[in-house]
């Protein structure tokens, strides 16, 4: 560790937030947008969400099907690998548990999942990080429908991992036994992405 001459720092976590900002992160009050490429815009009548077992569709939900599922709320802190952290974000959507139930499943059909999105984006996660109330497909942020720039109409929300795992414009969850690196994971980002362990890039332990 090299002390930086003249640097004292200003962004120290204030009382209320201490212990909630992972190493290397700083608080923001706005909501930055980071996306590879242009923002896809899918009209709701052409939107669907599918759960897949490898190549096979287990269920395909229309927007109306999705909205008819039990809606859950989640308040969470989110952490982007580009170093910002936002506290107490408020979301509404359908938990992955309820999606699996809707597909008639008691257990996910594989150890890993790949979220597949409009625009071709993908990201991979262990299913253990998606179930037991840990993750949802969110359609509302702060009480409002998600805007396209933030992943609307629907994004995955896995708040305990770096935010690139919370894939915007999600259209399917593909379950498999192997862990297949997604878009950023095959471009040098960490396969798992735990913010508390600063697993930013490939090779970070």
């Amino acid at each position: 560790m090299v002390i930086t001459r003249g640097f004292s720092g200003r962004g120290r976590p204030a009382g209320r937030s201490s212990g909630r900002i992972p190493p290397g992160q700083h608080l923001v009050s706005d909501f930055p947008v980071l996306t590879a490429g242009p923002t896809p815009r899918t009209p709701l009548e052409r939107w669907s969400l599918s759960l897949r077992d490898a190549e096979r569709d287990l269920t395909v939900l229309s927007w109306a099907d999705f909205e008819a599922l039990p809606q859950s709320e989640m308040t969470a802190d989110i952490h982007c690998v580009t170093k910002w952290t936002k506290l107490d974000t408020h979301w509404r959507g359908v938990t992955v548990d309820d999606l699996l139930k809707a597909a008639g499943l008691t257990n996910p059909p594989g150890m890993f999942a790949t979220a597949e999105c409009d625009g071709g984006y993908t990201t991979n996660l262990p299913v253990a990080d998606l179930i037991d109330g840990k993750a949802m497909v969110a359609t509302h942020f702060g009480g409002e429908p998600l805007t396209p720039a933030h992943g609307g109409p629907a994004r995955l929300l896995v708040p305990h991992l770096y935010f690139w795992k919370s894939a915007k414009w999600v259209r399917s969850l593909r379950f498999r036994d192997g862990d297949h690196p997604g878009f950023w994971e095959s471009l040098g980002y960490h396969i798992y992405g735990d913010p508390w362990r600063e697993q930013r890039y490939t090779g970070d332990t």
Binding site: V2, V33, G37, G188, T202
Partner: protein, 251 residues
């Protein structure tokens, strides 16, 4: 990924070897990074500052230089009330040590072998990684046609102006169009106003030429430009975007 056990990106000590003011709010720091493995145009570094009591701050900065031995240039714009950028602009001196790791990024990168015409669109300090691309292009043996469309608030805010003007007049140099959003100089050969679809159509390459677009700047700027390029028929996978800087300001 090719190797089974990837090497961690480790923190390295970098020494400031030059400082260049670019505009009143922007400066370039040239860092000597012993053991620097080289980089591709468009990649960035993570910088880490450590206070005497151990408090640390990290931020990302695009690499503005072409691959050049162990020297890595970054160009920093002041964010009013920012924690790190004012420190880099006001406090850092030659021979100071900073910590960084990189190069990072494999998406917003330009490969000199790619034959596609290159459309670069910058807002404000978003020109930094595009400058790296233009500098790398200037060294490439057989570079494709390239155009830069660069939006700034006013003439005095144009970063790298002299070097860009020299590039533009060199044989095989890129076409460059500046546009100013908040000033109308009496003598001005560039464009005026925000980048819009008509300007992009005029400056860009037709989609049939299979151009590759790199867009970098504040978020609303990138959102708008990327959407306009899609509307002009650029396929999404040939529009690379990088967003940084405060969410509100547009160049």
């Amino acid at each position: 990924m090719t190797s089974a056990a990837p090497l961690p990106l480790r923190w390295r000590t970098a020494t400031v070897i030059a400082r260049r003011p670019e505009t009143s709010q922007v400066a370039t720091l040239v860092l000597d990074v012993p053991g620097w493995p080289g980089h591709r145009a468009g990649q960035h570094v993570d910088l880490r500052l450590t206070a005497a009591d151990g408090y640390q701050a990290q931020r990302s900065y695009s690499i503005a230089s072409a691959n050049d031995g162990t020297a890595v240039a970054i160009t920093v714009e002041r964010v009013a009330d920012g924690e790190v950028s004012p420190f880099l602009l006001d406090e850092v001196r030659i021979s100071d040590d900073l910590e960084l790791r990189g190069p990072i990024g494999a998406y917003f990168v330009w490969n000199p072998e790619a034959g596609n015409p290159l459309l670069l669109i910058a807002g404000g300090s978003g020109v930094a990684p595009l400058m790296s691309i233009l500098r790398a292009r200037a060294q490439a043996p057989d570079p494709p046609a390239a155009r830069l469309l660069y939006s700034s608030r006013d003439e005095a805010s144009i970063i790298y102006r002299d070097e860009l003007d020299r590039m533009a007049t060199a044989t095989g140099g890129p076409g460059i169009l500046y546009t100013l959003t908040r000033e109308r100089p009496t003598v001005w050969s560039g464009a005026l106003g925000r980048i819009d679809r008509a300007m992009l159509e005029r400056v860009g390459f037709p989609p049939t030429d299979e151009p590759l677009a790199f867009v970098c700047g504040p978020t609303p700027f990138v959102e708008q430009v990327a959407a306009d390029l899609v509307a002009l028929g650029y396929p999404g996978e040939r529009i690379r975007t990088e967003r940084f800087g405060p969410t509100g300001a547009v160049g």
